[in-house]
């Protein structure tokens, strides 16, 4: 008899050919005002410049794959995540999730996805339980079932029930991020968008979250897109990694494949060779934001 993990792996083989996410020539530009450009000639509306946040990006992600996105600040990672989250419309190209177009089939796509973002997006005066109950209701879950699932995830991540009753503003960032993960997984998403889930966490919380993501991959039918600032994390968790710079994917392969392309043993060197930016500079940029 097969164990859950073995069953999962067998299923994974059959589902490996299934495409979870397909991104074809997707472009997204924003228009930002040029500083001091307001004058009576343009009715004080100012002049705008086009910023190409995502430019002709194409890739496919297989079902049950963990797909990493690495890139410096302003490279287009967050725009891509927001396009996948149905919060942005692409200007050109097509983006499908399990065969559903993110613009045309917005509601169907939303049933498949959930997201953990770098900032804790909660009602911070409310407790974890109150936030989770709200999430359960808007995702169409039975609230008691949702609460039970969320509490079991929180226990697994080392958070007890008393903490779950505390207002979120009184919890550490690590604890808040664990609640965010419980909230996302409570809805059993088949596409999980993890937008820097471990940034700013203490080492223990970071390890807890990484171990839990690995456990999710073993036990859930989930495809994961992970953006991270931790090279070790990307190597450890991701089946494939895309390096994105100036809105374009400049490299995409397994961590080993990327290292082989450059002829190095270090992912930081890989990043430097493809983007021209050192990883330390990228981290410094993030810290000064």
């Amino acid at each position: 008899m097969l164990t859950v993990n073995e069953e999962k792996k067998t299923e994974n083989h059959s589902s490996a050919s299934q495409v979870a996410v397909e991104c074809r020539d997707v472009c997204k530009s924003f228009y930002e005002e040029i500083k001091d450009s307001r004058s009576w000639k343009n009715l004080f509306l100012g002049k705008k410049r086009e910023v190409k946040a995502v430019h002709q990006i194409s890739f496919q992600i297989r079902r049950n794959e963990v797909f990493g996105l690495l890139g410096p600040n302003g490279s287009g990672k967050s725009t891509l995540i927001r396009l996948l989250s149905t919060l942005l419309f692409p200007d050109r190209g097509q983006l499908t999730i399990f065969g559903h177009d993110v613009v045309r089939d917005q509601r169907q796509v939303r049933r498949f996805i959930n997201r953990v973002s770098v900032e804790a997006s909660f009602f911070k005066k409310l407790s974890a339980i109150e936030n989770l109950r709200y999430a359960a209701r808007i995702y169409g879950l039975n609230t008691s079932e949702g609460e039970r699932k969320a509490l079991s995830i929180l226990r697994r991540l080392g958070m007890n029930e008393d903490k779950a009753q505390t207002s979120l503003e009184n919890l550490s960032r690590g604890m808040q991020q664990k609640v965010a993960i419980a909230r996302a997984l409570m809805t059993s998403p088949t596409l999980l968008l993890l937008d820097e889930p471990t940034t700013g966490l203490d080492p223990k919380s970071k390890r807890d979250v990484q171990e839990y993501v690995e456990e999710v991959m073993e036990t859930h039918d989930a495809t994961i897109i992970l953006t991270t600032h931790d090279m070790d994390e990307a190597e450890r968790l991701c089946d494939r990694i895309a390096i994105i710079d100036h809105g374009k994917i400049v490299a995409m392969d397994t961590a080993e494949g990327l290292k082989k392309q450059i002829g190095t043993a270090s992912m930081e060197e890989v990043f430097f060779r493809f983007t021209g930016k050192s990883w330390e500079d990228v981290l410094a940029d993030e810290n000064t934001e």
Binding site: K28, F30, Y31, T79, R82, S85, T86, L87, L88, F89, R107, R110, R111, I113, R115, S117, E119, A120, S121, F122, F123, K124, K125, L126, E130, R133, Y134, A135, R137, I138, Y139, G140, T143, S167
Partner: protein, 269 residues
């Protein structure tokens, strides 16, 4: 099952908003205190009238204006600020990517606004009634409540239209909603009859749902008018509501699409 899910989702917004009211209880105490003081101050203007009978009527006239404006302001503000609030808390992206219909989201917010508005108005009413010596013997209170219920959709429609402003302009939108609110206050005869307005402002008075609502509430409370004689105003309110609710939903959904094209649907402006 699908309907049950939508109702459950709608209730999520009501429950969450009341949870927030409970958690921000000190703010609530301050808001209610200000509402009470405001209603009392306005009512006291009526005491300057010498004739005793006219004085009592004027106090009631002014207090009705203050209470009714308080109720409608709460509805308008709660609906129009729902986007600002989510942006401020940082939950706007999470709420907008949830698999629910926008109409469910907005109906939930409107339902909360009505319940919350009723609760706040009831508290102010008790405080004001215990301060002034009201005679409500001939008042048709059921008629007045019916007017509140019938007027709410029209104000919700206005709130939905105003909610678009913070969606389109994260920095200035919330402040801009006060312009709409201020115009309604000016032209609706909250503390005076609309006949005193300059001729060029009068047409706006007849477009405002506040005018019909206040006329009807005053007829019901001051004159004890029966529901049958309130019908012209109630029909006007129903008509305005029937136009403003679909218009508000259409404007909101158009603005949401615009925000998704331009990237304005995000937490930090």
């Amino acid at each position: 099952m699908k309907i049950q899910n939508e109702l459950n989702a709608m209730y999520a917004f009501v429950e969450r908003s009341f949870d927030l009211v409970r958690r921000y209880i000190t703010w609530e105490i301050v808001f209610v205190f200000y509402n009470i003081v405001n209603a009392l101050t306005i009512g006291l203007i009526g005491t300057t009238i010498k004739n005793q009978e006219q004085r009592a009527e004027m106090i009631l006239y002014l207090v009705i204006g203050a209470l009714f404006w308080g109720f409608m302001s709460v509805i308008f503000e709660e609906v129009s600020n729902s986007i600002t609030w989510e942006r401020w808390e940082g939950t706007i992206e999470y709420t907008f990517m949830a698999p629910i219909r926008r109409i469910t989201h907005l109906t939930g917010m409107c339902l909360f606004a009505i319940l919350y508005g009723l609760a706040r108005t009831a508290i102010v009413l008790v405080a004001v009634a215990s301060f002034f010596d009201f005679s409500l013997q001939k008042a048709n209170l059921i008629g007045a409540l019916l007017v509140l219920a019938v007027a709410s959709p029209a104000f919700i429609g206005l709130g939905l239209i105003a909610a678009v402003l913070p969606l389109l302009s994260p920095e200035r939108g919330a402040q801009a909603t006060h312009i709409i609110q201020g115009i309604i206050l000016l032209v609706s005869g909250v503390y005076y009859d609309v006949s005193v307005l300059p001729a060029w402002l009068q047409p706006l008075a007849y477009l405002s749902p506040g005018t019909y609502a206040l006329q009807a509430v005053r007829k019901a409370i001051l004159d004890g008018a029966a529901i049958t004689s309130l019908w012209p105003d109630l029909l006007a309110l129903i008509g305005i509501g029937m136009i403003l609710i679909p218009l508000g939903l259409f404007v909101f959904s158009t603005a949401e699409k615009y925000a998704m094209r331009t990237g304005k649907l995000k937490r930090n402006g």
